[in-house]
Symmetry: C2
Subunit: 396 residues, 2 copies
């Protein structure tokens, strides 16, 4: 597998565009387009929030159909906007499809930003001709920029992989950086490939890879109304469908998604530390995930990490209330390679050494449950003053 | 029901004491005692965390027996301390019982503070004679002070109620202020009464009242290893057991527990606002609680409240992912009496008026699910810089 420079623009068969529409702010790219030359299969994973945005409703209706494009806007979530919001999403994608010369329901939509405010549909409608006209294979980087909200850098990644003599590409872009919870894609992510696959294989592989990447990160535990991850591949008859083809594809897709997940966490709102939470020897994988998630989401763990506070008891405490089967006499806690609790008994530590470890910006918190053979990893951040600042001031 | 001045000291039949033992810090009361003149029934509600402190283990073993006292220490949780921690708790309570002239296993223990550090058992043992000698009915206020950790004020409350010609007292004290999660007592709380009740009535009433008070508050969603709420009443044959007696007792106990819950939330770590989250018209009570808890715990809701940010979409979002049955077209959101979302459609609001409302230190966030007749209330706070500051620096 070869890592490529740049992102979406590496994948043949797609064109990209972004414009400054002025949806909420002036002078920023806020409306973007991914256009496919030919009809594509789409796999989608969406928020499980019962309050979901109009574009999520629209995507759910259309991911079973051939897809020709994805219209994306930042700064307005088009969530909690009732029928007017849904009708705006339909009108905007209908017009985009018309301009692309594609079937009316072949364009998906994704939105991110403030909840409960109607889209400025007329203004957006006027931007669509320029958006479609500007589409070019060279503009992949613009989409990564245009989807950002509180992200501090654009996130993109691409790999090329060999497969039975042929060579294919997978690329992706994603935006965070708050409302990042596990248990759903928790963000916007767009993945493209030029490898033709059957719809059912695309769906199954995408779900498996999401579970091990975008669904295993947390910034603040809030699940958004707009989480959308979409993967497109060209429709082709016959598709690549051998076990070797699918395995090569899955390996490459997982690599792209894991990298995007890591970039999202590194850019978590206000984060000063990137933290891997690794749970080992759980009774089963569900337990391993429960414990890893509880530790990764605990405010007390996250604030202690921010303060370089060697308060490891909070880690044991979070594992204890996670719902996983935990027996204190089998429980061990490590920060990097320093063991702090061993089978339920505290291990004396050299304070200065531990403080030095904690001061690093990359840390691994390890919890050994001693109950079985399963493990799980979550990525998280510390919780800083800046998280509060960013989120206290977001809409104002 | 008459509200009394002060707290535990109002209840006849008990004596109190507190000393500066120097468990972790000098010059602060950190070791205290509640002593009962006669054997008491004890009802206890404890953390459901699978990692629970040694004193919780000890209380679970002893609340079925007649109780003569409760030994309480602050600044050290005696959690994650293995067999040594349990053995320390046993030795300290055995010595306290001996000094009280009471049976060996008649003293309970409760601890709060840092996790994973052994108690300075020898030093504590030396403090016990003075602690027991100092016990007096006049010292109830000292216990309220001695159990504080990051609390900024002592919390106590007492009421007198009439019951079939007689008059009884219930009083309580509690400490917060972080690691406050719903779904368990989430703190230390001690309640005393002079009304004699049967053990089974005491248990049942205590559980019901806790569910509607201490289990319906949240500061940070972290469930501690040490949550302990204990209620003592004198053993007497026959006990008061008529339906009218029990109803009068339950009403008074609920009033005391609700007041303590409110005081705990008002003193939440770093809190600048006291927020009632009221969920109405839920399909059933479980749904009402799920939705109220999700809104009350959401970091995005809590940071928005801190910033006086009229970002009400985050409230709808949290209700949506709570697990409760939610249909967007029936969902309404109000802040105090201002409706912001009505049956899934945003309601235009006057920004200046809403900002004025948000700037108040007492707020009600109301979510109407429109699905049935059940309701639930949670108490919560905003999330401020100071929460992060306090918890980033707690053990250091």
């Amino acid at each position: 597998m070869e890592i490529l420079t740049g992102g979406l623009g590496n994948v043949p068969g797609y064109a990209f565009s972004a414009v400054e529409c002025g949806i909420k702010y002036r002078n920023r790219l806020d409306l973007s387009l991914i256009a496919a030359e030919k009809p594509c299969h789409a796999a989608g994973v969406f928020t499980t929030n019962r309050v979901f945005a109009a574009p999520v409703r629209l995507c759910r209706e259309r991911t079973g159909l051939p897809v020709r494009g994805i219209l994306i806007n930042a700064t307005n979530a088009n969530a909690c906007t009732g029928e007017e919001g849904y009708s705006n999403a339909r009108a905007l994608t209908r017009e985009t499809a018309r301009l692309l010369g594609a079937p009316e329901d072949s364009v998906l939509m994704a939105s991110t930003g403030v909840i409960g405010v109607q889209l400025p549909a007329e203004k957006m409608m006027k931007s669509l001709p320029n958006l479609v006209l500007g589409a070019s294979p060279a503009n992949g980087g613009l989409v990564a920029k245009a989807i950002m909200t509180t992200d501090t850098f654009a996130k993109e990644y691409a790999v090329r992989f060999a497969c039975d003599g042929a060579s294919y590409t997978i690329a992706g872009t994603a935006k965070g950086a708050g409302m990042i919870a596990p248990n759903m894609a928790t963000l916007l992510a767009f993945l493209l490939t030029d490898m033709p696959l059957a719809k059912k294989d695309l769906d199954a592989i995408f779900r498996r890879c999401i579970a091990r990447s975008l669904n295993a990160i947390t910034i603040d535990g809030d699940m958004s109304t707009n989480d959308t991850a979409v993967l497109l591949c060209p429709v082709s008859d016959p598709p690549r469908a051998s076990a070797a083809d699918l395995a090569a594809f899955e390996e490459a897709l997982l690599a792209v998604l894991k990298k995007l997940a890591e970039l999202l966490v590194r850019d978590g709102e206000g984060a000063t530390k990137f933290v891997r939470v690794l749970v080992t020897h759980a009774a089963d994988e569900a337990d391993a995930r429960l414990a890893a998630r509880a530790v990764a989401q605990s405010l007390l763990v996250k604030t202690a990490l921010f303060g370089n506070d060697p308060n490891w008891g909070r880690i044991a405490c979070a594992a204890g209330y996670s719902g996983a089967r935990v027996e204190e006499t089998r429980l061990s806690v490590m920060i990097d390679d320093a063991t702090l609790l061993s089978n339920g008994t505290p291990v004396p530590f050299v304070r200065a050494e531990l403080l030095e470890r904690l001061a690093k910006s990359d840390l691994t918190v390890r919890v050994d449950l001693g109950m079985g053979d399963a493990e799980a990893e979550y990525l998280t951040t510390d919780l800083s003053y800046d998280y509060v600042k960013i989120n206290a001031e977001y809409t104002t």
